[in-house]
Amino acid sequence: MAQQERERQTDRSLTMSRAIVEAIAHEMREDDDVFYMGEDVADYGGIFDSTAGLLEEFGHDRIMDVPISETAYIGAAVGAAQAGMRPIAELMFVDFFGVGMDQIYNQMAKNTYMSGGNVSVPMVLTAAVGGTYNDAAQHSQTLYGTFAHLPGMKVVVPSTAYDAKGLMHSAIRDDDPVVYLFHKRLMGIGWLPAPDGPKTGVPEEPYTIPFGEADVKREGADATVVTLGLHVHRALEAAESLADDGIDAEVIDLRTLVPLDIDTVRESVAKTGRLVVVDEDYRSYGVTGEIIARVAEDGLADLEAVERVAVPDVPIPYARAMETEVIPDAADIAAAVRNVRSNE
């Protein structure tokens, strides 16, 4: 059944945080080996509502607050996963990755390989990403590229509640480590309002969305916009404004960076000839360069023009006006689409 049909079949729509929690709760009911740990995930319910209400149902044995030591508790999750459990460990802000990066990069991602396949690490590492709410340089990064760069783990970035639930079911059931990055601005919490897009119809029954399948969120013939996370909604807003001027943009939501569905991107570029890649991560050595390189490798002749829209290589500023300037918005995306069409 097509995804849009399933979204429509329910009278109920959920915020992204509620959709994520629903998937986690279902998996915890089905499997006693699934548990969740992180800073402020139990009594507080996750500072971005990623675990709201779970403590009441599952108690402190399975929803665990941990001391502020990312190395200790991410390491504990790796060990528990290797011993046969299915931990979910939350890194409160992705910016804190440096503290526990040895556990993430050298243990979580590599232990299956290092052990010759004798252990698997079926854990999920969740983390909040993104800016646009004035939290300065150490709490506003997106860092998709950092996690997608090193082999050994899968990297998931949902943009809607429907996708968030299906991808979380897939992440918990996966026998390999999965990094699940949720954008704060998409969660739908009262003090950090979301755009309209991420709240979608969400069926009550569990369902999975396979990794490595990008989703065409809007079909169009004139240019391909490839993006993920919050910027799916900004790209859709840009596409709406471009449509008023007769420009028909296609918007592709990657949904997972590892594995990466480059075929969907190549097919779209073969149709449109024009590619704009949008990322809330830094411009250099990131998603924008990677997507363009992969399209060029096998489809150079299809490419008439490319442009990338990303955060310049500077720390995210605290000042509202400056943060707004460096993080791409719908107008920046629309301008890039106009640019790639300027040689027509």
Partner: protein, 87 residues
């Protein structure tokens, strides 16, 4: 036809947090659209008072007939959020 006699009001007073001092709130999220079917006890929307988010359960099983207070609307304690036509 749509007299209020066969409709049940969802009021903000029913879900008001007991320890709140303020008498004003704001609607944060609706989880149902008008015309949608809901079960008694389903969370139908969420409002915020004094930085606390409150889920509003459906008081009866039925159809969401009318949303009175939309997202971002501010209201006073006791105002009607919506009307449900019970099954």
């Amino acid at each position: 036809m749509s007299s209020d006699d066969d409709r049940v009001a969802v009021t903000t007073a029913d879900a008001w947090p007991e320890d709140a001092d303020e008498d004003a709130g704001v609607v944060v999220n609706w989880f149902m659209s008008e015309g949608g079917h809901l079960e008694d006890g389903d969370s139908i929307c969420e409002f915020q008072v004094e930085k606390v988010s409150v889920d509003v359960p459906a008081p009866v099983t039925g159809t969401l007939d009318e949303i009175v207070l939309e997202e971002d609307d501010e209201f006073e304690r006791g105002d009607t959020l919506a009307w449900i036509r019970s099954d």
